[in-house]
């Protein structure tokens, strides 16, 4: 799990331990070497991802190209996209096309609380055992657009990607570590992909 200084990792660690993961928190690029899977968490401002500079981007892309299962959570998912209006100068990984945008509309922003996931037609291993319409816990002001890799859509004034999946790369806008049984199911699914890839 990558620690790039974007928020508190305790809850994610606890949830990953709960589903049987052996987690090492890394803050240097060479920490990726030897890992069986990668988790990129993060909350807060997209600018925090500038800590994931060119060195990280190329190392993570190399790992992904080599087939490493990767899960981005919240800000970590947005980072998989090209960038965000929240921090125009900070490029994302660019693995998934699209730019993250601020949620606007007759609703409260940030979007905080439990909202539903509508599964798309795209088959998604992350959503195995999760019913379409299941609830997950969100807390964010910016969101990722709906694209070909979108596995689940959530709507708060506007529809956005609440889960994406591309090969062995997964991203969730909500917090699986705070989403009760549904969240733990998805972390378990990710662990299964990781074990199969090992």
């Amino acid at each position: 799990m990558v620690d790039y200084g974007a928020g508190n990792l305790t809850s994610v660690l606890k949830a990953l331990h709960f589903v049987g993961a052996d987690v090492r928190v890394i803050s240097r690029v060479d920490g990726i070497d030897g890992a069986g899977a990668l988790v990129i968490p993060g909350v807060g401002h997209f600018a925090a991802t500038t800590s994931l500079g060119p060195e990280w981007r190329s190392a993570v892309m190399r790992a992904i190209d080599a087939g490493m299962p990767t899960l981005g959570i919240c800000l970590g998912m947005q980072w998989l996209f090209e960038g965000s209006d929240e921090a125009p100068g900070a490029p994302g990984l660019g693995l998934i096309p699209g730019q993250c945008f601020r949620i606007e509309g007759p609703v409260k922003v940030p979007h905080v609380g439990w909202n539903t996931l509508a599964a798309t037609a795209r088959p998604a291993r992350l959503l195995d055992g999760v019913d379409s319409g299941a609830s997950a816990y969100f807390t964010h002001s910016y969101a990722a657009p709906c694209v070909a890799d979108t596995a689940a859509v959530t709507t708060h004034a506007v529809p956005f990607s609440s889960a994406v999946e591309r090969g062995r790369v997964f991203g969730v806008q909500f917090h699986p570590e705070k989403s009760g049984k549904t969240g733990l199911q998805m972390l378990t699914n990710f662990m299964r992909v990781a074990r199969e890839a090992a």
Binding site: A6, G7, N8, T10, S11, K14, A15, F18, V43, G44, H45, V107, K108, V109, P110, H111, V112, G113, W114, N115, T116, D131, G133, A134, S135, Y137, T139, H140, T155, H156, E177, K178, S179, G180, K181, T182, G183, L184
Partner: protein
């Protein structure tokens, strides 16, 4: 659709759950970890642990409580009561809290809100406001104290949001412990004035009170303690009751 949240508050003293009636007269209602697990099974959306201890031993017990609760409950956990500094906040967050709730400390030094938001993100910072009706609006009081502080509740909530608070926990002192219903006017006044979610607290006595606070009160979430503590299926029954009346609820858990 975004669901309205039901939050169970565990008032904890020396590792045990107690519940104050108008901040006085405490009675024991259970073990925090056990109670949390039961609430989780019943479908509660979020938990708040409120430390009502003043002693150093009590603070250590609180951190143990947070660790025990967060080890097996994977829903949001907020902790409040006696958090006066960055160090206090760090201790409860490291123990497993997702959010800290600050009250008197934010009134004394509003820059603490911004400092916490910078490090942990706004989503981790709840500003708790204890408000009381007055002739000219809603006054703010420092937690469990009798000190009236300026500005009024609406102005303070706006300032807290501007400074980086992610949510407001709004308690009606007039209603707290009375079971006479939430103060919907107070809640609506604050909730419509700030862009961030407002959690209504104080006065929950019947299921209809929750309908009122989610409709007339414009609350995004409602927090209660004793209404959940003393009956077997209180949380589940309340969620089904609210859903039947058109309040968006999370019903899969």
């Amino acid at each position: 659709m975004l669901a309205k949240r039901l939050i169970a508050c565990l008032d904890v003293r020396d590792g045990a759950v107690v519940k104050g009636i108008n901040f006085e007269g405490l009675r024991t209602a259970g073990d925090p970890a056990e109670l949390s697990a039961r609430y989780n099974e019943e479908g509660i959306d979020e938990l708040t642990v409120l430390d009502v201890t003043a002693t150093l031993e009590g603070r250590r017990a609180l951190l143990d409580t947070i660790r025990q609760v967060s080890q097996r409950i994977f829903i949001p956990l907020a902790v409040g009561g006696g958090i006066r500094s960055m160090d206090d906040a760090r201790a409860v967050i490291d123990a497993g809290a997702d959010k800290v709730s600050i009250n008197s400390a934010a009134l004394a030094d509003p820059s603490l809100i911004t400092a916490l938001a910078r490090i942990y993100g706004s989503q981790a910072v709840i500003v708790a406001i204890d408000a009381k009706r007055a002739a000219d609006g809603f006054e703010v009081f420092a937690r469990s104290g009798t000190t009236r502080v300026a500005p009024g509740a609406v102005a303070w909530a706006k300032e807290a949001a501007d400074r980086g608070a992610g949510e407001i926990l709004l308690t009606s002192i007039d209603r707290d412990g009375t079971r006479a219903g939430f103060d919907c006017e107070l809640t609506a006044a604050v909730s419509t004035a700030v862009p961030i979610p407002v959690i209504a607290s104080g006065g929950a006595g019947t299921p209809d009170h929750f309908v009122d606070v989610f409709s007339a009160g414009c609350a995004d979430a409602a927090l209660a303690a004793s209404i959940f503590h003393f009956s077997e299926h209180a949380v589940r029954d309340l969620k089904l009751f609210l859903a039947e009346r058109g309040v968006p609820m999370r019903l899969d858990w």
